[in-house]
Amino acid sequence: MSVADIGFEGVSFPSNALSDVPFRVYTDPEQYRLEQERIFKGPTWNYLCLAGEIPNPGDWVATTLGEVAVIIARGPDGAVNAFVNRCAHRGNLLCLTNKGHGKEITCIYHGWSYDLEGHLTGVAFERGVKRQGGMPPEFRKDEHHLQRLRVAELCGLVFGTFDEDVEDLEAYLGPLVVGGMKRVLNRRFHVIGRSTQVLPNNWKLYAENVKDTYHASILHSFLTTFRINRLSMPGSINIDESGGHHFSQAKLDYAAEDADYKAAQLRADTDLKLADNSVIEAFDEYGDQVSVQILTVFPNMVLQQVRNTIAVRVIRPRAVDKTELDWVHLGFDDDDDAMTERRLRQGNLIGAAGYIALEDGCVGGFVQRALQYNDEGSGVVMMGGHEAESQTFRASEAAIRGFWKKYRALIGA
């Protein structure tokens, strides 16, 4: 039964203001179902995997789009295909592991097999056994292929959508955000690490958190304690026209920071010092003094450059109050040993144990707990005004308002 069938049209928003966000959107299980249909299975491009995870024809990975199990496979012609991980026969899960290789995928239940473009190629005992049983003559294999997704690739990232009509990926993102992505993923890269952080909160609380430049230098006191990132540093918030995608940047005078830090080490008034600075010793690898860039693709992906740490974070909703956050840490193929070591050491800043990220693992859970059976009313998202437009300062919640602009357009609220 779909949510439309039961007449549920979602949590009502108290006004048209983007700064007015009802708390119930984080707690209502029916809203969560509506999001699966209208957002994740709706006209959105969702991050699926890295193209580099399936380098050769026959390679496949199994993952999820929203809650839906999907397979991404490289076909014999080298093209990337994506389809649901669900046998057309009785709905069984086809791929049981998260990656593999082969010419075809065969269902373990009744032996139906598919090629890597999702065509049904074989049905066990199709003609029956000893001329008895089998499929009736009107059964045609070409009418029972796997449900396919549209796929698109950008900067080595593979995206997919269930929607036939959504615009092409680059038009969906807009030139501003495409530019932000190309800035970071500007050369060949590879995976240097992976982990998954299980968040005890609704997926939107994390999606908002990464768009929230306001909290960074308050919640993450590592940044202020060690004088790393302050809202007074030059920066910007860049939001696409739909509101859903963005990137924020903070610039850093690398040389000044180094001098500043050395001076602080000598002063007696700052008793808190790092014993080993290498965790924050950054190199201006893009030559533009941008030390932090957080980019989001609505609804499920974050691309981060935090100093010399590069990572894709994938937001995977698992229940109304549970989210999995996949961290895919990247290095570039032209990194020398010193650069690799730098990225690994700075890796302590991010992820489930990260000095400027671990708090994001618990803060969403605190909100979720506070809203438990106490979700009347609305939050206030007014910092920096009421609109969802790009800004040249970061003491703002403009990108969060952008999230709600896109969200409300899709959900119909």
């Binding site: 995976v191 005890p200 302590n348």
Partner: protein, 157 residues
């Protein structure tokens, strides 16, 4: 050193290390390591794939100290502690005063409100300086069985 003294020394090191963490005497934790050390928390799949990134990646004694300084004075999280349960240590051969050793572990997380859950299981892969007393870790790789970490990881394993 005879084999029983070596085994006794490693067993003691493992037990005292776990007690140090579980008893919240984390200021002493860096001193279980030599100055030029490596402490890494990763997972089985990443380790097998040769991925070098660690959820925690410390490549010096100072980086270990910073882990404790930040968790005590900077980072924000709910109070909790662990209870480590260790399996028996298995020892390799001694080479130039260094022994390879491994042991399985299970870490239970006890939140401040008493909520108790299985937080992590895995294996320690160690290289230990046994040339002087007390024994110290040159390298401790914490290989988690699962890639999933609940909420956050701030206290070392």
């Amino acid at each position: 050193m005879d084999e029983s003294a070596l085994r006794q020394g490693i067993d003691d090191l493992y037990a005292v290390y776990a007690d140090c963490i579980d008893d919240d005497r984390l200021e002493e934790w860096p001193d279980f390591f030599v100055d030029d050390c490596r402490y890494l928390i990763t997972d089985r799949e990443s380790h097998q794939a040769g991925l070098r990134h660690g959820v925690i990646y410390c490549a010096s004694h100072g980086m270990l100290m910073d882990r404790i300084t930040t968790m005590r004075r900077v980072l924000v999280y709910e109070p909790h502690r662990y209870r480590h349960i260790l399996g028996p240590a298995r020892l390799g051969a001694v080479n130039d005063g260094v022994v390879a050793a491994r042991a399985n572990f299970l870490a239970v997380r006890i939140m401040h409100d008493g909520e108790t859950s299985l937080f992590a299981t895995g294996r320690y892969l160690d290289r230990i300086d046994v040339s002087r007393s007390p024994f110290r870790f040159i390298e401790r790789l914490v290989i988690l069985d699962s890639q999933k970490i609940d909420t956050l990881l701030v206290i070392p394993l």
